[in-house]
């Protein structure tokens, strides 16, 4: 059973989607370490180290995802877990922006997968299983 760290980054208090993701990933067989809302980058990294997590799943719903997520990959590298999978999803930027540039921006930041608004959990679960080579 692979361990994953889940949380809503920054000053974001959107709790419902977070609970749904916790439920869905747990049902799918993952050991979910849910940090909940208002989670800092440091907390994600520390939790991943201590639990030996194989992926960090970051949610951001309030439009400030870009500034909150910047540097997460670098922090992981510094902390010795540079190879960990990083996923991010939600309403990552303010307003209606074209999706591809947004996705590319987060990929350039070091995220392995970037999910647009209204992605269903099943889609992320399937991709995570594929990326981790688990069934």
């Amino acid at each position: 059973m692979a361990t994953i760290v889940l949380g809503v980054i920054g000053s974001d208090v959107h709790a419902i989607g977070n609970k749904i993701l916790e439920y869905a990933f747990t049902e799918a067989g993952f050991k979910v370490v849910n940090l909940g809302v208002l989670t800092t980058k440091k907390e994600f990294v520390q939790a991943a180290i201590e639990t030996d997590a194989r992926a960090i799943l970051v949610s951001s719903l309030y439009g400030h995802g870009e500034i909150d997520c910047r540097g997460l990959r670098e922090m992981c590298i510094e902390a010795g877990i540079g190879d960990i999978l990083l996923y991010v999803g939600g309403n990552l930027v303010v307003g209606k922006q074209e999706w591809e540039p947004v996705r590319d921006k987060f990929l350039a930041m070091g995220f392995d997968r970037v999910f647009p608004p209204a992605t269903m959990p099943d889609e992320a679960i399937a991709l995570l299983k594929q990326d981790l080579g688990v069934s």
């Binding site: 000053s11 208090v13 050991k31 909940g36 809302v37 939790a47 639990t51 030996d52 400030h64």
Partner: protein
């Protein structure tokens, strides 16, 4: 009626309390602790005195000790804020003194320091259950390679514990495997580690000459004094509800809290959920041996507004120069001011933090650590309080942060908290009676 003798072999004084089987205090005596020669000399001196008071020999003896520096430990975890903190809280909760806390991989300097400090016991943690195994195994290997054998309580990732123990045992370490101090992220489970430490205490703490001989006379294993105080507070909290206990000593100020772990509605809790019964020790906050660091921490306003400021300053300088000194008559107010600062600093450090952050959805309060605001009672322990003309002044805290908002103040007037704690397990009814006898509302 049977006589129970309760002994607290402290670093400077050996204190004995005699109680009958109803828990009535029938004698109290003390003698200087004779740690340099044989602790039995001090014990015997106090025994002679108390037997004169009770008129007979006791039926059973229970004892705790903090002589020869008490139980000194080092804690190792992985992330300092997670298993490092969990390990630290477990060590404190067992009644030990924390010499150092290490996080991540132990490096050569750390290992040299461990070798030089020679802790009585080392607590090795790291990784949640099923989580990181590497740290535990690598630190076990580093200790085995570089440090001479020590008693180790291994309380880390259960999936690496056995292997870690084998690495250490191969070079002669004695290892006690116990439950992980943080089995899941942010969830503490420190009781198994505390219990293992207390069990090891007796078998490895024979530093003070005569301690082993003394322990053969005891009805129950010798425990560290703070563990006895923690047990007494627990018994009280079961009756009185959430409470805070502050023990002001010459070298340290210990704070014990029972409760304060609920998250009020509308707040978000972050970090480790602290243990319901939590002990912290401030080694730099004390009335004599740590007075200089207390004064430094309290800041230069400490004596501001004092009615006899110049006299107080002179007296303070004398106390700083000579820790054995008693405050001159007429200047007791200085002692109250110092003790009040000690209480405030120690309780503030024990308490958690409350931070208001502004989110696009409005202000949100983030709580971490202990919320002491609704503590019903604050109990003061220690000679400085018992002998003070103004214990209320010492124990009264400003309403700020997460400090108690409107507590009832009480005093352990007979200084029997540790003695009562010794009976909390075997004879709880007697312990309750003793506490009721000693606790005085202020």
């Amino acid at each position: 009626m049977a006589i129970y003798l309760l002994a607290d072999v402290g670093s400077t004084w050996t204190k004995l309390t005699a109680v009958d089987s109803k828990g009535n205090i029938v004698g109290q005596a003390s003698a200087p602790t004779t740690v340099k020669t044989d602790i039995m000399e001090g014990v015997d001196a106090a025994l002679r005195e108390i037997r004169l008071q009770t008129g007979r020999k006791e039926d059973s003896i229970y004892a705790c000790s903090s002589a020869a520096g008490g139980l000194a430990m080092i804690a190792c975890g992985l992330v300092p804020e997670l298993t490092g903190e969990a390990a630290r809280l477990a060590v404190l909760g067992a009644g030990a003194k924390v010499l150092r806390v290490f996080g991540y991989n132990l490096n050569e300097d750390d290992l040299r320091e461990i070798e030089a400090l020679r802790p009585d016991i080392l607590l090795l943690a790291g990784g949640t259950d099923g989580g990181n195994k590497k740290i535990l195994l690598e630190n076990a290997q580093a200790l085995a390679d570089m440090v001479s054998p020590l008693p180790v309580v291994l309380a880390g990732n259960r999936n690496a514990a056995r292997q870690g123990a084998e690495i250490l045992e191969a070079t002669g370490f004695s290892v006690k495997i116990t439950g992980n101090v943080m089995p899941e992220l942010n969830r503490l489970d420190i009781e198994p580690a505390r219990e293992a430490i207390r069990t090891l205490f007796l078998s490895h703490i024979v530093k003070a000459k005569g301690m082993e001989a003394f322990s053969r006379h005891l009805a129950a294993p010798l425990i560290p004094t703070p563990a006895a105080v923690l047990a007494a507070g627990k018994l009280l909290a079961a009756e009185m509800g959430e409470l805070l206990l502050v023990d002001i000593g010459g070298a340290t100020t210990d704070v014990y809290s029972y409760g304060g772990i609920e998250t009020p509605p509308g707040m978000v809790r972050k970090g480790l959920l602290p243990p319901w019964d939590m002990r912290t020790v401030e080694a730099d906050i004390g009335m004599r041996y740590s007075l200089s660091s207390l004064v430094e921490q309290a800041g230069r306003d400490l004596l501001a507004g004092a009615p006899q400021r110049e006299q107080w300053q002179q007296e303070l300088d004398k106390l700083l120069a000579c820790p054995e000194r008693l405050v001159s008559p007429g200047l007791e107010g200085l002692e109250v001011t110092l003790a009040r600062a000690a209480v405030k600093i120690a309780v503030q450090r024990h308490a958690g933090t409350l931070e208001r952050i502004y989110t696009p959805a409005g202000p949100t309060d983030i709580l971490s650590g202990k919320d002491l605001r609704r503590m019903k009672t604050v109990i003061g322990v220690g000679g400085v309080l018992v002998n003070s003309p103004d214990p209320i002044g010492i124990l009264t805290m400003d309403r700020e942060g997460l400090l108690p908002e409107n507590p009832k103040l009480m005093l352990d007037s007979k200084y029997i908290m540790a003695a009562a704690g010794l009976l909390a397990g075997p004879e709880p009814e007697m312990a309750r009676r003793m506490l009721a006898d000693s606790l005085a509302a202020l």
